[in-house]
Structures are given as structure tokens and as C-alpha cells.
């Protein structure tokens, strides 16, 4: 082969590699916007219909171009929204639907103008995409229906899209979950709906975390006011988690931006803008430490949603940087590369069907209603089944220091009832938590105060054989 031909091959290879790479990575001021039509009126069948009516679209806007260029990423879809940009800044995942009647699914678009490709095909739909540090997609499925009368076979749960494309469930609670994001430490932060069950300490929605394999479900912040809702939590560069807090469950009402601090999430709930209670649709971190806010533009008589960019210490939104008379701009994300969160190796063993739970002191609680009661001598563990009923797994002895240790079935919602020597229930915790296969899980007490480290003491329960508890024969896990 001549030198010239070798050179040609090299150039062709280089061009091919360049094409495979992210052509848009160099764009620094690109924005991915969600626009919803101002005049949308059709009835909403589900939660996403209400937020993204037909005609809603996801588009990329290059602010560096002159004039500004726009590219619709959701071409061919009747509605789209809820975008999340990949860590390399090259791809955009968003929810969309192909026809007014079809389920919402998650699509992957790129900044090259190709048609979006579906990446989920979940019965009942999928929503709220987020990306793990590995780049794997996590999402919620199914999409909740708007009216209680509409059939809903499954509670919305968190799923991971595995490398082969198949979904695997990560959350197994007895409450609906929504609105995912990934924290810098790699945990999945999500919103958990309140429980209506007796004994539940959760009055309103709350933020919870799980690890990327579904282990270690933990309360992160909340619970907020009963009847309210939380949407769109996002970690900001200054260590706050911002979210939209709406006073009503009615999805047509907008909320205000609030935040909690990572340093003390349970004690730091505050408005994001102390000087203005703007109705906000989304908050996203932007390059540097700025924030991208989509909120009602009070300077506009119709209060259309516009895009604002503010510094983190801002108390008011000031003037929008982008408005459109035809559209509400309800979400905006920067299309730039960003650091990946910290990863995590899974401790789960899918071959196993049980996990172990160690409670250090079942008599320790931050729940004041437990004060003055007698001490627990045993604990009854319950589980929620596929039919929605609660079954008793069995009982485990509580040692003199309040500790107990049990081996329990995995991937089912687990509840706890502490009992005194007369079998009176002292405290009941409805099925909220779950264990993943081979997970070893510990807790300090029953509804212990949040963010509490354990005492350094050897639990007495470790001196006794572990109590093995199983689902009753014939029970179908959810």
C-alpha cells in the first residue's frame, strides 16, 4: 500500500472516530428546553399529560450561534418533556409519547438532529429519567393516572435499565415514588408519597434515598405538609437540594421553589428565594454556581413560564433571559458535560432471597408518642403482598438492650410492630422499607431521629441465633 493510501486510511479513520464521538460536546452555551403550548386544554389522563399536554416538545437551543439556532429533539412525538442530559453532554433522555393514546416512554435524543429512539417499553409507561454514574438509566414506572377510578395495577416504582435493555426494579415500598435525581455521592434521591396507614409518621411527601442497587432505603428530608406535593428535586452546586413544593396535590397548581441543605436536611427547609414567592416549574444547576429557573413571569400579564438565570444567593428572580409568547418554558437544562457522581459497587447477591436486619434498640425513637411506654420484648415483622394485604412474617425476640436480629425475605415492603410482654403493640411502622437480596441492614431504633449515628456498643442480639422469617406459603410478593 502506498504512503498516500495509508494516509487516506488514517484520515478516514480519524474522521470516523470524530463522528462517533460527541459532535456537540464543544458547545458550551447549549440549553435543552421543554416548551408546552400556552393554549393547551385537552383533559389529562395521567400525571405527565397534565404537565406536558399534546404539543409539548423538547428542543435544543444553541445560544452561541448567531442567530440562535433551535433543534427539536422530540421530533415525531406528540408530547415530550422531563429532559436529563448525559454526563458527556452528548445525549438527552426525556419522556415522550408517540400518539395521544400511547403510554409515555423514555426516549434518547442526540444533538445531531436524529429522530429520538425509545429506550423503555414499560407497561403503564415510564417517567422521570435519571442517569447513574455508570450512565445507566433509572426511571419511574408506571405513570400515575390522574383519576382514582382509572385502573392502576402497580404502584409507581424505581427501575434500572440494565445493559441488555431489560428493566430491573429497584424500589419495593408500599408507597408511590416519583421525581428522581442522583446525588453527588451516587445515591438516588426520590420523592415518596405519604402513607395513609395508621402508625405512619409521614404526614406529607418526603425525600428518600436508595443506593444504585436499591439497597439502604433511607429518609433524606421531610415529611412536608400533608396534602402537598414535591416535584423535581435537584442537587445544587452549593450543597442545597432544591425542589418545587406545591401546596396541593392538584397537578394543575404550581409550586414555589424550596430547598434543604445537605448538611442538615431535616432542619433546613427554606424558600429558595427569600424575597419572592414566584410560582416555579423547575430549578436546575447551571454552569458555575448559577441556577436555571423556569417560573411564571410576573412581568407578563398572562404569567407564562419563562426562563431565568440567577446566582445562588439571589432573593428574587429579576428579569427572564428567555420568554416566548407561544410557549411556556417549563424546564431548562444545560447541554454540557458535567462531573459524574461517585459510583458504588453493589453489595447485593441476586442469587439469594433473604437479607438480614439488625435493629440496635427497638425502644429508641424520635417519635414522642412512644414515650412512657413499657419496653418491647419482641417484634412482629409484617410484609405487604401483591394483593395489597399485609401478612405476618413472624416474631423476633428483642433483647434487654432493645436489639433484635432477623433474616427476612427480600424485595417486599416490610413493616414492624414492637410488642410488650403482654403482646400489646407499642409501636407500629407500616411497610415502608425493604431489603435487597443478601443486603445486611441496620437501624438505630424505631423512627429514630434522622441523621443519627449509633452508639458504639455491641448489640446483645449478636449473641443469639438469628431469627429466620419467611413469607407464608402461597403468598405472592408484590
Amino acid at each position: 500500500m502506498s504512503v498516500f493510501r495509508q494516509l487516506l486510511v488514517l484520515i478516514a479513520g480519524a474522521m470516523l472516530l470524530a463522528n462517533i464521538g460527541c459532535r456537540q460536546a464543544a458547545r458550551q452555551n447549549g440549553l435543552v428546553l421543554v416548551q408546552t403550548p400556552v393554549a393547551a386544554t385537552q383533559p389529562a389522563a395521567d400525571m405527565l399529560d397534565a404537565r406536558y399536554p399534546n404539543g409539548s416538545r423538547v428542543l435544543f437551543m444553541d445560544q452561541t450561534a448567531d442567530p440562535k439556532t433551535e433543534m427539536v429533539l422530540s421530533q415525531g412525538l406528540v408530547a415530550a418533556g422531563d429532559p436529563v442530559v448525559s454526563y458527556d453532554g452528548c445525549a438527552v433522555y426525556f419522556v415522550g409519547k408517540e400518539t395521544p393514546e400511547s403510554d409515555w416512554q423514555i426516549y434518547r435524543g442526540n444533538l445531531s438532529g436524529d429522530l429520538p429512539k425509545p429506550v423503555t417499553s414499560m407497561p403503564g409507561g415510564a417517567m422521570h429519567p435519571a442517569l447513574l454514574p455508570t450512565g445507566s438509566l433509572v426511571f419511574i414506572s408506571p405513570v400515575p393516572k390522574m383519576h382514582p377510578g382509572q385502573p392502576q395495577n402497580r404502584l409507581p416504582a424505581i427501575y434500572l435499565r440494565a445493559a441488555n435493555g431489560s428493566p430491573s426494579q429497584l424500589s419495593f415500598g408500599a408507597r408511590a415514588v416519583s421525581d428522581l435525581t442522583i446525588l453527588a455521592d451516587g445515591r438516588i434521591l426520590f420523592v415518596q408519597a405519604p402513607s395513609n396507614e395508621a402508625g405512619s409518621a409521614s404526614a406529607g411527601p418526603a425525600l428518600f434515598t436508595i443506593n444504585s442497587d436499591g439497597t439502604e432505603i433511607t429518609a433524606f428530608a421531610g415529611a412536608l405538609t400533608a396534602g402537598s406535593r414535591i416535584e423535581h428535586p435537584r442537587l445544587l452546586a452549593d450543597g442545597r437540594v432544591a425542589f418545587i413544593h406545591a401546596a396541593s396535590n392538584d397537578l394543575s397548581t404550581r409550586g414555589v421553589a424550596e430547598c434543604v441543605s445537605l448538611s442538615r436536611p431535616f432542619q433546613s427547609l427554606a424558600p429558595l428565594f427569600s424575597g419572592e414567592l414566584a410560582l416555579v416549574s423547575s430549578v436546575e444547576p447551571a454552569l458555575g454556581t448559577n441556577l436555571l429557573i423556569c417560573a411564571a413571569n410576573t412581568a407578563d400579564s398572562s404569567h407564562r413560564l419563562a426562563l431565568f438565570q440567577v446566582e445562588p444567593a439571589a432573593t428574587v428572580l429579576a428579569k427572564p433571559i428567555l420568554t416566548d409568547p407561544q410557549w411556556n418554558i417549563c424546564e431548562a437544562v444545560e447541554a454540557v458535560a458535567r462531573p459524574r457522581p461517585m459510583g458504588r459497587l453493589s453489595t447485593m447477591d441476586p442469587q439469594k432471597q433473604t437479607g438480614k436486619i439488625l435493629c440496635l434498640n427497638a425502644n429508641f425513637s424520635g417519635d414522642q408518642s412512644m414515650g412512657g411506654q413499657s419496653l418491647a420484648t419482641h417484634v412482629r415483622l409484617t410484609a405487604r403482598t401483591a394483593s395489597g394485604t399485609t401478612v405476618v412474617l413472624g416474631e423476633a425476640p428483642v433483647q434487654a438492650d432493645g436489639s433484635f436480629l432477623a433474616e427476612v425475605p427480600t424485595d417486599v415492603p416490610l413493616g414492624f410492630e414492637t410488642l410488650d410482654a403482654n403482646n400489646h403493640v407499642l409501636h407500629r411502622q407500616p411497610p415502608v422499607i425493604w431489603l435487597r437480596p443478601a443486603e445486611n441492614r441496620s437501624c438505630i431504633g424505631c423512627h429514630e431521629p434522622p441523621n443519627r449515628a449509633p452508639h458504639n456498643a455491641r448489640p446483645l442480639a449478636l449473641n443469639f441465633p438469628i431469627t429466620s422469617l419467611n413469607l407464608p406459603a402461597g403468598t405472592t410478593p408484590p
Binding site: D185, S263, R344, L358, L405, S442, P449, P454, A457
Partner: protein, 649 residues
Amino acid sequence: MKPRLITLFLVVAALGAVAMWLRQDYWVDHMSRMSGQKDLSHVTCFNCHMVSTAKLRWAQPRPHHDAPAGLAVSPDGKIIYIALDDRDQIAAADAVSQKVLRRVKVAGRPFGLALDAAGQKLFVTCRDADRLAILDTQTLKETASIGVGMAPVAVAYCRTSAGERLIVANSMADNISVLSVSPLREIGRPSAGREPFDVTVNPDGTRAFVVNRMAWLASVKTVPAAEVTEIDPVTARTIGRDPLASAHLSESIGIVPSRSWVLNPLVKVRNLVPITQVANGWVMSSGFAVTDTRTCKVIQLPLDEANNYYADPSGMAVAPDGKRAFIASGGSDVVSVVDLDKVSAWLAAASVSTKEEAINDMSLSPEYVIARIPTQRNPRQLLISPDGGTLYVAERLQDSILLVDTKTLTTKGRIMLGDGGLNDPIRRGERVFTTAAYTFQHQFSCRSCHPDGHVDGLSYDFDTSGIGDNLLDNRSLLGVAGTEPFKWNGKNPSLEVQCGPRFAKVLMRTDPIPPKELRDLTTFIKSQPPQRVARRHDGKLTPAQERGKAIFFATKTSAGVEIPHGKRCSSCHRPPLYTVRLSFDVGTGGPFDTPHLLGVANTAPYLHDGRALSLEEIWTLYSTNDTHGVTSYMNKEQLNDLVEFLKTL
């Protein structure tokens, strides 16, 4: 000549191979008999033969760096004195120009510094020479020297009713040298806790406070506690011991005269709880202790936040007006600023039980931590200028001193001592070893359990085989090169495996350390020599040690009865590493990896789960029926002799 040698070598090797093949049974029997192993798949000739320490990484020369250790500042605030222990040097720097003015040689790894009241004498503890040197600050020449206890790391100067005194923390002798300055002599050497590491004295010179890095030796299932030891500088007597329950690794102590407080940073350890998670400080967290010197009551307060940790609190400095304390977190490259007025207000308002629980409340620190000042790598010692205006931060693995304006809490500059040493893989590895960046929420570093590569003296309960049945003694990393396999069950064939994905999964709860950093980390660990041991200055053994040596290598009991090969000390603990790197059952619950014995004197507790608090207890309590070597024939004196010999290894 060379080809002939190669040919000769090949011929000998071939003959040897043929001989081995012809006498396979003999060699199998030999290996089985000498190693005590039924399964020979992991046994090679090199377990017992051709082992040399000379080629190990820790025996090789290594680069030295300008890592700052102790700091001192002249009374007028103009000159900063910096101990460069790795260089055997003391540096004097101009506080205004931020330039190094002079360096002088001080032999013996100078580490801790203090000045007399006039700023004319610089007192230097020499960690590897077991001495205190006095330098004239005008000439920086050594004018006097005196022997103190083993491995002195800190010194404090004070004036007392009986004259000038020096209080020296002897870290490896577990005692404190109290010296008079004129004449320079040792008045007394009271015992401290375990590994005394820093000293401070109250303004009137009536009480010295010594913080100890390691917890007292105690049963593995009891709550560990380090202590603050109180000394009378005049009489050199111990006048108090304030326990720091479930806390250790305190490396600094400061006094707040206006509040009658003594403050020391600490690691709150939770080693008795199974490690099922690390979130919410389940394994350890960082904090500081407030000791009321009038009541001796100790309150521990957290330094961490609910979702972000500040690992390895090391140096501490208190502003002269007592308003603020500064704590360096060596694992997180941060100096935390603590508002002591806010601490005082919180303490005044909190109930007794709230104060007792405070250290476990991971969301408390925003009540009093008002700023976190970022630093470069591994901030350790801190110092405040006499006027309180400048905080000096020794960035140990950056070879620099950071200057911080204490009013604005902004950086004023940096005294550059060296280049950071990033061309040295050992230095790069030490950076990996000391950073908490690879653990979940930056909770801890390798150093958090292995201070200076050694041990923290505790056992931890890993949950790899279930919950609650896996208490394992922490093993020293000093001198581990060439002693693979690792882990008590001997299943990790290399440090790369030991420190790689396995640790990421069971302890760090993150992604594994990236390959390049892992290589640097293991290079650093392999470069760590065994810990120095106390021996006679001429290197010879004492008569008792000689007798102990004879027992260690004995093939017969005192009565002349043959000791089976597998029951002799030296069979499993074979020199020069004092391990054959195989697992044996010594009656403690299964076969466990044989630890090397280099520096064994300072690695208590012993056995796989740390059940033996001393070397003696290995045989007096835990070797019934001669399960751990034939030792039942020994009388008390013989056992003492054996232990005396082991302490020389």
C-alpha cells in the same frame, strides 16, 4: 564467560528438576511436613527459603520530601519555624515575605517544636533519636540535647513556680518526659495513656494536658477510650486522666483559658457495631472534645455534616481571644472554623442528655462551624500568630504552609517548602493513603484506621459473612511488603487485591480506587518499614532477650523433649520476616494467616480478633493444650524472656 555461566546454571537447574522429579514423594512429604499444610497448592519453596528483606521496597532508598511537621512562631510573629522531619531539618521562614530564610540540619527526624517565652530557644523533639534538642534561634545552632522517652512527637514550654519546664509526649513509650530547662534535666517520666501525641499547658503553668492518640487496651467487646492525661509540670506527677469514650486518634490539643476549656479533635469510632453501612457515621465520624478543666466533664461534638464528612481531624489551634478554634481535616483538605461563642451558647442551652448524645447527631455542626477553608493536600499541624491575625496550616503532602487571614478567613499566601513530590510514586501513594476522597461521603481514609501506616489498636466487625460474627483485629501495614497473602483468612494474594474492589465493596462503599492510584497506594504501603523497636544502643540483645531467642528457636523443651516441627515458634514465624505466609489453626477458631512479627511489640492487641491484649496473653489465656506452639513447659521467667525477645523483632 557469560554463556558458560548460563550453560552451567541451566545444567544445574535441569539436574535439580530431574532430582526433584525422581524424588517427588520426598519433596511432597518435606513440604507437607515443614509447612504443616495438607493442601500444598499454595505452598512453594519460597515460603521458607530464599526469603530476604534486603530487596523489599521498604529496605530500598527512597526520596525525601519537605513535608512540614511541627510549627512554632516567634513572639513578635515575624519568624515561623518549621520541622521538616523527612529531611532531618528545621526551616526558618519570614512570615511577611513568606520565604524560607534558613534551613539547618537536626538529626533524628525533628517533629515537634516549641519556643521559650523570649523566643531565644527552640525546643525540638527528635522522633527517631529519642531526644530533645535545643537550638539557639539567632544562629539556629544546636546548643544542647537530652534523651527522653521513645519517639517524642510534641513538646510544650511553660513557666512554673519552680522554674521553666518542658513537657514532652513520648509517643512509643506511652509516657511523658517532664524536663527543667535550667539546668536541662529530666525531672520525671509519668505514664500517659497510649501513644501520647500532643501537649498544652495552662497559662499559669500549673497543669499540662496531654492528648493520647490510641485507646487504652481493653477487651475487644468493650467501648474503647483514649484519654487526656493531666500532669503537674512542677512535680511531674499525673493528676488526672479524662477518658474520651469511644474516641481516639486525637493528634492535637489546645487550651481556651478564657473558658477553662481544653479542646482536642477526635475520631468517634463505632467499631463494636457491625459494619452493615457507612452512612450516618456508622463506622466512624469526626468531632472534637470540650473538656471543662474545672469539672473535668467532657462533651464530644461532631465536626461532620449529615451528608458530608471531614475525615482525619488532626491539627487544632485556638485564637488568642478564645473566640474561635480551627481544626484541620487531613483527609478532606479542609480547615473547619468553630465559633466558640456558639459552642458555649449551645452547651448552655442543651440538656445533659442532649449533650451526651451530641456527638451522634450528624446534623449538629452547622450550629457552631461557621466556615470550611479549603487547603491543599493533607493539612495537619496548625498554628496561630501571637496577634491572632494569621493561621498557619502545614500542608504536609504539598510541602507548603498556607497562611489564612483569621478575620476574613481568606488565603493570605503560602510558604513553599518543596515541589509536592508528585514525581515520586511513594509520595503519590501517600496522598491516596491519606485522602478520604475515595470513601462514601468522604467519611474516612486509609489513615483513619492506619495512622502513619500502623494500627489503631481496634477490632472491627465486617459483615461480609453475615452480621456480628466477624470481629477482626486491625493489622499494621508497616513492614507488610513481601508478607502476602493478606487478610486474616489469607485469601488476598496481593495488596492490589486487598486494597482494590474488595475494600470498595465492604468498606469504602464506592467505586474502587482507580488503577493508577491503586498502584501508587500499594507502592507507598510497600515502602513502609517495620516499626522501630526499643533495643540496646549497641544493637546487642540483653541476657533476657538472648534467653528468649533461644526459646523462640528451641527444638526441645526444657526437659529435653522434642518439640514437633509444626509446634516450634520458628516453624511458622520463620526469619527474616518471621512468617512463612501460610495459614494455621492456633486454636482460636480456624486457620488464620500467620502475621509477620517485625515490630510486633507495638501492635497490640493480638490474634485474629484482638482477644489477646498483650503478647503474654497469647499463651497464658489463649493457647490451652499447646495449640499455639508448645509453650506449656515454660515457667513465668521463660515466658517473660520469650516476650522480651519478641519485642526486639
